[in-house]
């Protein structure tokens, strides 16, 4: 049934495969304001790099003609310069002219409105590179999608309309690109055909943006005079800009250094999942976030700080001697130390910071403004923790990059905040490590992703960092109630709530101080902290996991009941918990 493979390949196929496999991946984000021609530029790049197929091209030809016809009907009101701007097809003169933006705007609403709503990913193969292009919307309403595309990018292309020059939105995009740590920036001054390929116009715009971009800290900024609709300086040098010596956009893409090599960075391994097929195998599965690990290396498990050695690096193909970012591997440790999802392994002399109070840059995505009185969830590496944005240091006014005081952040705002997490994040400053320095904020009620954060470092708390501590110790509380506080998790089931109430009754009758809570981590911890037995019935696996690790970190007694136990056994186990701890 299964196909046997030949071992010897024809020479040209072998060469093809070698070329294909030796190419490195580059992630590119293309940004610009509405109507700057991003989709057209990307469509043009794909078309000229043979990234499109004939049926796709013929479909676009059909759609281009349809759109052109519709525009002809409506053209009475269209000003002449718009008709000239690459919409020649509207005049019926050049029906063959392709509307390159149609290759990329894939949603119905996008085609109807002629704008890009959501980030889309395109795949380009050049002679030297495989490029993943994030095509991002320029409209202010969709800035969050621009940040989405920029978060993983190695390089950014910002489009500017030659007729309009640098707009506030252009500066906003450059700022976000720098904030997200993209090192290389190309400025494509587009629609040069509409300004007669005027060198002075190009240099004026380019200089203004380049000056701005350098203040933002990009490693390299390059300028290209282009016409996306006509193909000038995209993949071929244009005869219409003889004064331009900077080459083509494609040439730039192929010349960029590969950024994903983090070989020299400190080793970081967030534990994703524990693989335990049998008693003798306990593997920590995860992706090396940065750096390199070798068999025999001394490592520490954070946050516990316990030290051990790497006994093996396991993969499906067999053991490895070393693994570097971004490999997904499984680590075997020399000692049976406790390590689970959310923990992080590093070399002993290169620790990340364990940050419970930290300062960070935050891009807000939520429809509801950031509420400093609310609890959110933070996901960083493989750890999810309840957190609160305690303070907004300032909000950035993107018009002039001014830092202004703010009580809150609204949709698409960017600001510097202080975050307080229930459990410490094992993080590095974002500028040092884009993997361990990044986090997202999740609304615990709606489950929406409402923010993206970049760690700056420990909170600059000065004198006001003192934690308010209760004057009553937990030992005193235990003594008063005659029982330890504990969290007891019931097995997930449709009738978990009623089972919890039955168990609560039985324990109450046994003289215990006990109460039932649904799945709120905060409430359960508070109750257990006050000495009560908190019976928790939570369906969501995330809530169960967070509870488990929260209780562990807080040192609260913890018991998980099994579905196989009957009510009597459950009562006995909870009572035993109390006896042992007393």
């Amino acid at each position: 049934m299964e196909t046997a493979l030949q071992t010897s390949l024809p020479l040209d196929v072998q060469r093809l495969l070698d070329e294909h496999s030796s190419r490195e991946l580059l992630r590119l984000v293309v940004v610009g304001s509405v109507d700057d021609g991003k989709s057209t530029l990307i469509g043009r790049l794909l078309y000229e790099c043979d990234g499109l197929f004939e049926d796709q091209i013929s479909a676009v030809k059909k759609a281009s003609a349809k759109r052109a016809a519709a525009r002809t009907e409506a053209s009475v009101a269209v000003p002449p310069e718009v008709l000239a701007s690459g919409l020649r097809a509207a005049a019926g003169a050049e029906e063959e002219e392709l509307d390159f933006s149609l290759f990329t705007d894939g949603l119905k609403a996008e085609r109807e409105q002629g704008i890009t709503i959501d980030v889309a990913y395109r795949y380009l193969s050049t002679g030297k590179r495989k490029v993943i292009i994030a095509d991002t919307p320029g409209h202010i309403q969709y800035t969050r999608n621009m940040a989405t595309g920029a978060s993983t990018a190695d390089a950014a292309v910002i489009l500017v309309d030659a007729r309009l020059g640098v707009l506030p939105q252009t500066r906003r995009h450059a700022y976000i690109a720098s904030l997200l740590g993209i090192p290389y920036l190309a400025v494509a001054v587009n629609k040069m055909d509409l300004v007669g390929f005027d060198r002075a116009t190009f240099e004026r715009i380019g200089q203004e943006l380049a000056d701005f971009a350098y203040t933002l800290g990009f490693e390299g900024v390059r300028l290209f005079p282009v016409s996306a609709s006509r193909g000038d300086n995209i993949t071929r040098a244009s005869a219409r800009t003889p004064w331009h010596e900077g080459g083509t956009l494609l040439g730039w893409l192929e010349s960029l250094p590969h950024q994903r090599r983090l070989d020299n960075a400190a080793f970081r391994f967030p534990v994703q999942y524990v693989i335990r097929p049998h008693q003798d195998y306990r593997g920590l599965a995860g992706q090396v976030a940065s750096g390199t690990v070798r068999v025999g290396d001394e490592v520490q498990v954070l946050p516990s700080g316990r030290r051990t050695r790497v006994a093996g690096i396991d993969t499906f193909e067999g053991p490895l001697e070393e693994a570097s970012a971004p490999a997904s591997v499984t680590l075997l440790l020399a000692d049976d130390v406790d390590a689970s999802r959310g923990d992080l392994l590093s070399h002993v002399d290169e620790s990340p910071q364990a940050l419970q109070q930290l300062d960070a840059m935050l891009v807000w995505f939520g429809e509801q403004p950031l509420d400093v009185t609310r609890r959110y969830l933070v996901k960083q590496a493989t750890r999810t923790a309840p957190a609160q944005v305690e303070r907004i240091h300032w909000r950035m006014e993107l018009e002039d990059l001014a830092e202004v005081p703010a009580e809150s952040l609204s949709l698409n705002d960017i600001g510097k905040v202080r975050l307080v997490c229930r459990r410490p994040l094992l993080a590095d400053p974002y500028r040092d490590n884009r993997r361990t320095g990044a986090f997202i904020i999740i609304d615990a009620l709606t489950h929406d992703t409402v923010g993206a954060g970049m760690v700056l470092g420990p909170a600059d708390t000065g004198a006001r960092g003192a934690v308010e501590a209760s004057l009553i110790s937990s030992a005193e509380r235990r003594a008063r109630l005659g029982q330890p506080g504990a969290i007891v998790l019931l097995p997930a089931s449709p009738d978990a709530a009623s089972r919890a109430f039955e168990l609560e009754r039985s324990l109450f009758d046994e003289g215990r101080h006990v109460t039932t809570v649904s799945g709120d981590v905060e409430v359960a911890l508070a109750l257990a902290g006050a000495g009560l037995i908190a019976l928790v019935h939570a369906e969501a696996p995330q809530a169960r996991r967070v509870l488990r690790s929260e209780a562990r970190d807080a040192g609260v007694a913890w018991l998980e009941l099994e579905a196989s136990e009957d009510a009597k056994q459950q009562v006995e186990r909870v009572l035993a918990l109390g006896e042992n701890a007393k």
């Binding site: 493979l5 490195e24 894939g106 889309a120 693989i275 997904s328 999802r341 997202i440």
Partner: protein, 305 residues
Amino acid sequence: MSENTLARTTHLAELEAESIHIIRETVAEFANPVMLYSIGKDSQVLLHLARKAFHPAPLPFPLLHVDTTWKFREMYAFRDAFVARHGLKLLVHQNRRALAEGINPFDHGSQKYTHAMKTQALLEALAQHGFDAAFGGARRDEEKSRAKERVFSFRDKHGQWDPRRQRPELWNLYNGRVDAGESMRVFPLSNWTELDVWHYVLRERIPVVPLYFAAERPIIDRNGTLLMVDDERMRLRPGEKPTLRRVRFRTLGCYPLSGAIESSATTVEAVIHEMVNARQSERQGRLIDHDEEGSMELKKREGYF
């Protein structure tokens, strides 16, 4: 092997590492995940990556084949042999009511048929087993609305996709939180292209259904689409008579809806060679994509993969 893949971070090694990360993340964050298995090359690659992700443990989730009953016979044979050989847990789900009503690709048209036998059947199966996450092998390079998909694609209680309400997805931090009844579609192969898939099939020696390779097959030419007459259920139109032609398939689905291409490629290498020179996209032979402009988007909104 291992030195090749890890010493140099080529794009394929990076894609592999990213996909394994996504698969593990899903299993860590969800209570009851499932992997959609369609028997195609992308499914084979996805399954291979999943086995790598949890090695040496068995897969911590079952496979689900949403069976329209109209797949190629060779696909069923391949499925059963492969599952048995690797000891995989496979669930097969068919829309029984639609079958009883006699819904088929000939009388009901591809749209109605696909909705009943694929979309409805899938939603039924997910609900019946209470799966809260479902892996799919879709790639963003397949189709324009696919290019807009997140890796973690949120579905409401009705299994529906709303492109305007997608969660922002930054770095490799996937938000897997859902309420009861809601679910996530997860696409670990999002960033792979068709060429990457074939290259990986070659590199990893991944078995695929022989229909991907050229052979003499009984074919009718219907308005330029080459359809294979796989069994006696095929409805021939007046004047249509199957003739043996040397063809293969770039994409596999229900045989009355999958167009073949003329080809002489009988090995993975030859397929890759042919593809590099090909001028037609992979889904060009998929009749269900061409019902109307934007039809994939509509299907996805309703719950299609």
